[in-house]
């Protein structure tokens, strides 16, 4: 019995990881219609920032406060990734609005450059990030142990989603963002600086990818090609959920995450992956716009 309980938990946990990785994409792709193939590399940047901050702690601070590095690393990952995203936006992305498929190709080039950059700076082999002591171990519950790391990530996702929601729907700036994304020319004529809004929005999406990278260091490898493992899954999440709605991203990642772990449990990992993607393709035949759509009377999107 505990095996099945744990498996349900695993499903939730994998969903939460996908959600975290896809949240930034839901903003850049969902709101801005930019297909950012370098999203995975922004995740990688977040992971490397965590690594660097850890090393700074090892080098300059006392051992007793080492575990606190992680509290600094997550916001650090956000800031650095957002900065990289901002630079990307003002140099490259701004030339690609309205050309979603071109944005895919250009950002693909960017991802090659960023991967090579990571290799040049940190070396080709994987690096190790030590998990903070307060995330070691787990919550023992009826004979099974729920790892604190995974619980922490679930909490982090909830916090991030809440943060994004409040920012987009409860602040003046969020209102501006939504206005620009819904009707750019109207927003412009009402005096909103759309260029600035674009940059900030993209930077925010990038920053969220950075947080995802910081969180992923708890579970997986940290290397130059880290991002490539997540890029397709996250796109699938956003498309399945429906573009432009955060609730869609949540649903999409839950469907893929729980689907993946369940199929993997009853069959094997390879077949599980095939089945999940097959179901995504079949589902999209039925609902091409994903679970949730923004109703629009426009004929040509």
């Amino acid at each position: 019995m505990s095996t099945y309980l744990l498996q349900i938990f695993n499903g939730v946990s994998v969903s939460s990881i996908l959600m975290l990785a896809a949240l930034g994409l839901a903003i850049t792709f969902g709101l801005m219609k930019i297909i950012n193939m370098a999203h995975g590399e922004l995740i990688m940047i977040g992971a490397y920032v965590t690594y660097v901050i850890q090393n700074i702690f090892i080098q300059y601070f006392d051992k007793s406060i080492f575990s606190l590095y992680y509290i600094i690393a997550l916001p650090g990952a956000f800031v650095v990734a957002a900065l990289v995203g901002y630079l990307l936006e003002i140099s490259i992305i701004k030339r690609l609005y309205g050309r979603p498929l071109d944005s895919l190709l250009a950002t693909w080039g960017v991802s090659l450059i960023l991967q090579q950059l990571a290799r040049s700076i940190f070396g080709a082999p994987n690096v190790d990030v030590k998990s903070p002591a307060w995330l070691e171990g787990g919550l023992v519950l009826g004979g099974t142990q729920l790892p604190y790391k995974r619980l922490f990530i679930i909490g982090l996702v909830i916090a991030c989603i809440a943060g994004v929601y409040i920012f987009l729907y409860r602040t003046a700036y969020g209102r501006k963002i939504r206005a620009v994304m819904q009707n750019r020319s109207m927003a412009q004529s009402l005096g909103i600086n759309t260029r600035k809004v674009d940059s900030i929005t993209f930077a925010m999406g990038a920053g969220l990818a950075g947080i995802a990278g910081g969180a992923l260091t708890l579970l997986g490898s940290i290397g130059p090609t880290l991002g490539t493992n997540y890029i397709v899954d996250t796109f699938m999440v956003v498309v399945l959920g429906g573009v432009g709605r955060i609730v869609g991203t949540v649903t999409g990642s839950a469907a893929i995450g729980i689907g993946n772990t369940t199929f993997e449990f009853f069959t094997n990992a390879s077949l599980g992956k095939v089945l999940v993607f097959l179901m995504v393709i079949i589902f999209l035949q039925w609902k091409p716009q994903g679970f949730f759509t923004i109703n629009s009377r426009a004929l040509d999107e």
Binding site: T3, L6, Q7, N10, S13, V14, I17, Q115, Q116, R119, G123, A124, P125, N126, V127, D128, V129, K130, S131, E136, G137, G138, T144, Q145, P147, Y148, K149, R150, L218, L219, G220, S221, I222, G223, P224, T225, T228, N229, Y230, N260, T261, E264, F265, N268, A269, S270, K273
Partner: protein, 425 residues
């Protein structure tokens, strides 16, 4: 409009076929001429090799410097470059310097084949050191056989192969997997859980292990494969928990090991609760996994950074002096390093870089390697190697806990094991 097109198309195709016909007839002449010139140039090369000249000997280095395999292969390339530098500093081979030509296989197998062709046909290298994955080796194998080149392959692999144009300095299955399984059966328990990445090495290795378990009284509990680049092992760990094996025999590749061992630790499973034995995790990979995540787990290799020989002390010192004190050496790095020396020794003995002569000279060649004395087995061009089972220490190094008394004879087809009959044909 349409007419002009048709006319144009026809005329071009006719022109082309005429051209083709012309080329066809000139083909024979051209190709025989080019093969004649090739013969002349190879003769020239041979004669220049015999008379001591100042030109360097070109050798190829072919590894993935980009893509997913770069995490492992860059260090192997570094070791080969270091060996070449050392040999050059000591005066080179046959009075000539060695000049490496480095190519990037980019973790892409057809790219490996392309670059191997380039090295052999265009650069006319004397030999090539390279490859890591079995897939890349299989991709270049026909190229080396076709062009009669020589490849020195540094990584343990699944066996069932012995090309006359490849020297294998990593372990054959009977020098790593088979003794490890035997040792685990005697010391750790009978119930095995086989976990691997979904590709050729784990599948073939597990086929061997299953036959061995059946013959030696072990019990197979489950066999699981995950796709390359799989990142979440919570389900697998749950399956392991439910299956309660004595031993998890781990043939996961690269990145996946990081996720797997982090997951084991997070789920509260330590090496005291469960024995795992890995055959694709060496010191270099442990750095990425994190020593504290892997401490106490077992590995099986032929060489560790801690291996206690005077040759190894010198090797580790030189490697770290050259590439940084934070770097580690491991089995494939050492195997790549000794490959260069083995080739150089064979060339010295043969007095030539000619493939046939080098192969002949290499038979039975002995070399004092960091792992101990190794010997090239002439019959299958693999190495006699000692086998060592080690335990990962909290500092990320590996402590040897068991080793064979002598070097083990390589047996890539497992011919000397009764239970392995029918595995190779």
């Amino acid at each position: 409009m349409k007419k002009t097109w048709l006319a144009l198309g026809l005329s071009i195709s006719i022109a082309l076929s005429a051209l083709l016909g012309g080329c066809g007839s000139s083909t024979a002449a051209g190709s025989s001429a080019s093969s004649a010139s090739a013969a002349v140039s190879s003769e020239a090369a041979a004669s220049s090799a015999e008379t001591v000249s100042e030109d360097p000997i070109k050798v190829g280095i072919l590894h993935s410097l980009s893509g997913t395999m770069a995490i492992s292969e860059v260090s192997v390339k570094d070791a080969e470059m270091m060996a070449i530098e050392e040999i050059n500093a000591a005066g080179g081979v046959l009075g000539r310097k060695i000049e490496p030509v480095v190519e990037d296989g980019a973790s892409d197998w057809p790219k490996f084949a392309e670059k191997a062709k380039k090295l052999l046909q265009n650069d006319k290298v004397a030999t090539v050191f390279g490859c890591w994955t079995s897939a890349s080796r299989k991709a270049v194998l026909p190229v080396f056989e076709e062009n009669n080149g020589l490849l020195w392959y540094p990584v343990q692999y699944e066996g069932m192969e012995s090309s006359p144009n490849i020297f294998y300095s990593g372990a054959a299955p009977n020098q790593q997997i088979v003794p490890a399984v035997e040792w685990l059966l005697q010391n750790k328990g009978k119930k095995f859980f086989l976990l691997g990445s979904d590709y050729v090495f784990p599948r073939t290795a597990n086929k061997i292990i299953k036959a061995q378990l059946a013959a030696q009284g072990g019990e197979l509990i489950a066999e699981e494969y995950t796709p390359l680049g799989h990142t979440d092992y919570s389900t697998i760990v749950n399956k392991i928990k439910a299956a309660k094996p004595d031993v998890v025999f781990n043939t996961l590749n690269g990145d996946s090991n990081v996720a797997f061992f982090k997951e084991l630790k997070a789920s509260g499973i330590t090496s005291n609760d469960l024995t795992t034995c890995s055959v694709s995790v060496a010191e270099e990979e442990i750095r990425g996994i994190g020593a504290d995540n892997m401490a106490g787990h077992l590995v099986s290799w032929n060489y560790y950074q801690t291996t206690d020989t005077p040759e190894n002390k010198a090797f580790v010192e030189k490697y770290r002096a050259k590439y940084g004190a934070d770097r580690v050496t491991d089995d494939p790095i050492e195997a790549a390093y000794i490959n260069v020396y083995l080739w150089a020794e064979a060339v010295k003995k043969a007095g030539s870089t000619d493939t046939a002569k080098v192969k002949e000279a290499a038979k039975g060649l002995e070399f004092k390697a960091p792992e101990g004395t190794v010997k090239i087995e002439g019959e299958n061009q693999h190495l006699w190697k000692p086998v060592r089972i080690g335990e990962v220490q909290p500092d990320g190094l590996i402590k040897e806990i068991w080793s064979t008394a002598q070097s083990v004879k390589p047996d890539p087809y497992l011919k000397s094991y009764d239970w392995a009959k029918g595995l190779s044909n």
